[in-house]
């Protein structure tokens, strides 16, 4: 009986592994198709503008809220900690590094994974279920060029200014908290920020924007295209898209920081 159980488990693992490898292969080909459709960007510029508005301008409120809250909290907590060591004047330095290198881009990535990624997954999933994607193919339109490439181009363009906005809002809120909560002179705060920031700090932060744009757009769109099984299937594929892209954003965040900081 134990042997049968072990064999069944072995079989289940083999099937899971095979499906995983096949999915990875499909995802790779899907990503390649999205990138090789880039020359068609001129033809689909209206779609790019629409998507830029959805993932860019419409995302400003959520990016601002998350950046302001994390910048404020960071200033309060780090300020309390530095006060114990009599190093409160270093508050600007520590918060600016954390916000610009890590938390600004990371929070923006997670927020956009939820907002932009879920929209992609649900919209493309619904199109898949209702055969609209098959209709595009049947009438001679490449659905990846029409639906995915504009999303990818828009995300690549818009994630950079959103990162800048997230950094700016995070730093401004930290400065506000430093002045009003910790009674730190703004001059001291900003003096600890600007002269000490090195180019690599910006490279780390801003390199994450295109990486996150690629991860979020491709993972959520791929899951939308893979939706099966009616409305419940759309729900499943959307959730899968958000969970996987958020996880990958966290992993990519770590590796981009590690690679850039070790090599610059």
């Amino acid at each position: 009986m134990l042997l049968t159980f072990a064999r069944n488990q072995e079989k289940a693992i083999a099937v899971w592994l095979k499906n995983f490898i096949l999915t990875m292969q499909e995802f790779f080909l899907f990503s390649v198709r999205a990138f090789i459709s880039f020359p068609k960007v001129k033809r689909y510029w209206r779609d790019v503008l629409d998507q830029a508005s959805i993932c860019g301008t419409d995302s400003i409120p959520i990016v601002l809220v998350s950046a302001i809250s994390i910048g404020s909290l960071l200033a309060i907590e780090v300020g309390n900690l530095l006060e114990d060591f009599g190093a409160k004047t270093m508050l600007g330095r520590s918060t600016s590094l954390t916000v610009i290198r890590e938390l600004g881009p990371l929070l923006m990535g997670l927020m956009l994974s939820a907002r932009f990624g879920s929209r992609n997954g649900a919209e493309l999933g619904a199109m898949q279920i209702s055969e609209q994607i098959d209709a595009l193919r049947a009438f001679g339109t490449d659905p990846v060029a029409k639906l995915v490439m504009p999303r990818l181009v828009a995300a690549l363009i818009m994630f950079l200014p959103l990162t800048a906005l997230s950094d700016y809002a995070g730093l401004q809120s930290a400065a506000y908290m430093a002045e009003h909560y910790h009674r730190l002179d703004p001059g001291i705060f900003w003096n600890a920020v600007y002269p000490r920031l090195a180019p690599k700090d910006f490279v780390v932060g801003f390199l994450k924007a295109p990486v996150f744009a690629i991860i979020i757009t491709l993972v959520s769109s791929f899951n939308g295209f893979s939706a099966r099984g009616g409305t419940a299937g759309v729900g499943r594929s959307t959730i899968k898209g958000i969970v996987v892209s958020s996880g990958l954003v966290l992993i990519a965040n770590f590796y981009v920081s590690k690679i850039v900081l070790e090599n610059m």
Partner: protein, 244 residues
């Protein structure tokens, strides 16, 4: 002309089609009849190259499309129009935008020619006054007519219908069937109709293939269906008589 030569298809371990061979000649209406879930719609997707068979060949106007690249298939697909079972209209676009969508997308036609063709299809489908409505505000029969109009706007040689009357009331079904009949008379079009409704076959089809358990068990002119001896065909024919 569309030909399927000994086509087999599997989804996982499930064998959907077993050595299916079919020919659809130009200017004829061919029905593919069979119970739900037997792989009828799959045959239409094979004809369009939307899915690839495990074995066999799919030949469109003498060109083997079985292993053709997706980018090369687009020009072949434009020879055929497809009416999906759920219509597959773009729900965020108006009726006239839906009709003109693929013309704008794939053909470099002047805007006034596109408008002319859209108006022509609106009139053909009897949808005057609904041009600026979204698909969700139309009835099932009207949406089906828009889907037919969208398939016709390219002026294809052949039109593929996936369950054209499924889910429609008897009046709408009758309108759709007369629309299909008129296509051949007025536009010289061929058609493939996938259906599980035997009345549709007798109403519009010149010839019929019956798909049962992944195999073609009958393929001849519609009138000869009555002479078929296969138990499944006898049972569906007797059901029809009972219905009458």
């Amino acid at each position: 002309m569309i030909e399927l030569r000994e086509v087999s298809l599997k989804y996982g371990d499930k064998e959907i089609l077993k050595n299916v061979s079919l020919t659809v000649r130009d200017n004829t209406i061919k029905a593919i009849l069979g119970p739900s879930g037997v792989g009828k719609s799959t045959i239409l997707k094979l004809m369009l190259g939307l899915i690839k068979p495990n074995n066999g060949q799919v030949i469109i106007d003498g060109t083997d499309i079985t292993n053709m690249k997706e980018s090369s298939l687009y020009s072949i697909r434009r020879k055929m129009g497809m009416v999906f079972q759920g219509n597959a209209l773009f729900d965020s676009l108006t009726i006239s935008q839906n009709l003109g969508f693929f013309l704008r997308e794939n053909m470099k036609l002047p805007e006034d020619e596109i408008s002319r063709r859209v108006t022509e299809q609106i009139q053909f489908a009897g949808l005057e006054g609904y041009e600026d409505q979204l698909p969700e505000s139309l009835s099932g029969g009207m949406r089906r007519r828009v889907a037919i109009g969208r398939a016709l706007i390219f002026k294809p040689h052949m039109i593929l219908f996936d369950e054209p009357t499924a889910g429609l009331d008897p009046v709408s079904s009758k309108k759709i069937l007369s629309l299909i009949s008129s296509l051949r008379h007025n536009n010289n079009l061929g058609a493939v109709i996938v259906t599980h409704i035997i009345d549709d076959v007798f109403n519009v089809a010149d010839c019929v293939a019956v798909l049962y358990q992944g195999e073609i068990i009958f393929d001849d002119v519609t009138e000869k269906l009555h002479e078929a001896q296969h138990p499944f065909i006898r049972s569906i024919l007797s059901d029809k008589i009972l219905e009458q």
